[in-house]
């Protein structure tokens, strides 16, 4: 079975500061992908960043970067220069298999304060 664990139900960061959201996962698949999605109050799921498991290089997207530790099955998200618009629920997601199944973590609610 595939599992995704987010151990931080809530996090808070001051505007312009840096925050790291944790995620660990478990899978028996050799070929998989990892994502961070954010879900603001509008409910729309928005892709933040994507990582292919076969790539050692950590993905980056502007202020967002990941620390992908494959052996440790860890996939943390770092948000730099946090902005008020970053406030949302963040989900760590594992995609595997030819059926493109997703396993979602339980989410981390991020608050951004002034």
């Amino acid at each position: 079975a595939q599992t995704v664990t987010q151990s931080q139900p809530e996090m808070s960061v001051q505007e312009a500061e840096t925050v790291t959201l944790s995620c660990t996962y478990d899978t028996s698949e050799s070929d998989y992908y990892l994502f961070w999605y954010k879900q603001p109050p509008s409910r729309q799921m928005i892709l933040v960043i994507r990582q292919e498991a076969y790539k050692q290089q950590n993905a980056t997207e502007n202020r967002f970067s990941v620390n992908f530790q494959k052996a440790a099955k860890s996939f943390s998200l770092k948000i730099s220069d946090s902005q008020l618009g970053d406030a949302a629920m963040y989900f760590c997601v594992l995609l595997y298999g030819t059926a493109s199944k997703l396993t979602f973590g339980t989410g981390t609610r991020l608050q951004v304060t002034l």
Binding site: R43, M45, R50, S100, G105
Partner: protein, 114 residues
């Protein structure tokens, strides 16, 4: 990229009735999925909507309760049948993910059952 239109965005229904949720993608996609997100929780996959054949349901979800149609590569519906208050949830459709590519999500349907 794909844009997914999902409707209705919200509804309040009476116990024992059924509601059909529609999901329209602006381009042809191979994979379409339906998820449930209970209040404050993560997303759980209900089923994979297969074009031209019966949907593939996850454990705990059955066709009689959640019939799904997928008449073509751009459209799918999910019906929540014989509703009870326990069915109050957000229902989201998604598309894509094949080969590890990004999944796109509809904006969700917030269902309240009285």
């Amino acid at each position: 990229s794909a844009v997914i239109s999902q409707k209705p965005s919200r509804d309040i229904c009476q116990r024992g009735t059924s509601l059909t949720i529609q999901c329209q993608v602006d381009s042809q996609v191979t994979m379409m999925f339906w998820y449930r997100q209970q209040p404050g929780q993560s997303l759980t996959l209900i089923a994979t909507a297969n074009q031209g054949s019966e949907a593939t349901y996850e454990s705990g979800f059955v066709i009689d309760k959640f019939p799904i149609s997928r008449p073509n590569l751009t459209f799918s519906t999910l019906t929540v049948s014989n509703m009870s208050p326990e069915d109050s949830s957000i229902y989201l459709c998604s598309a894509g993910g094949q080969g590890g590519e990004k999944l796109f999500f509809g904006s969700g349907t917030q269902l309240s059952v009285l």
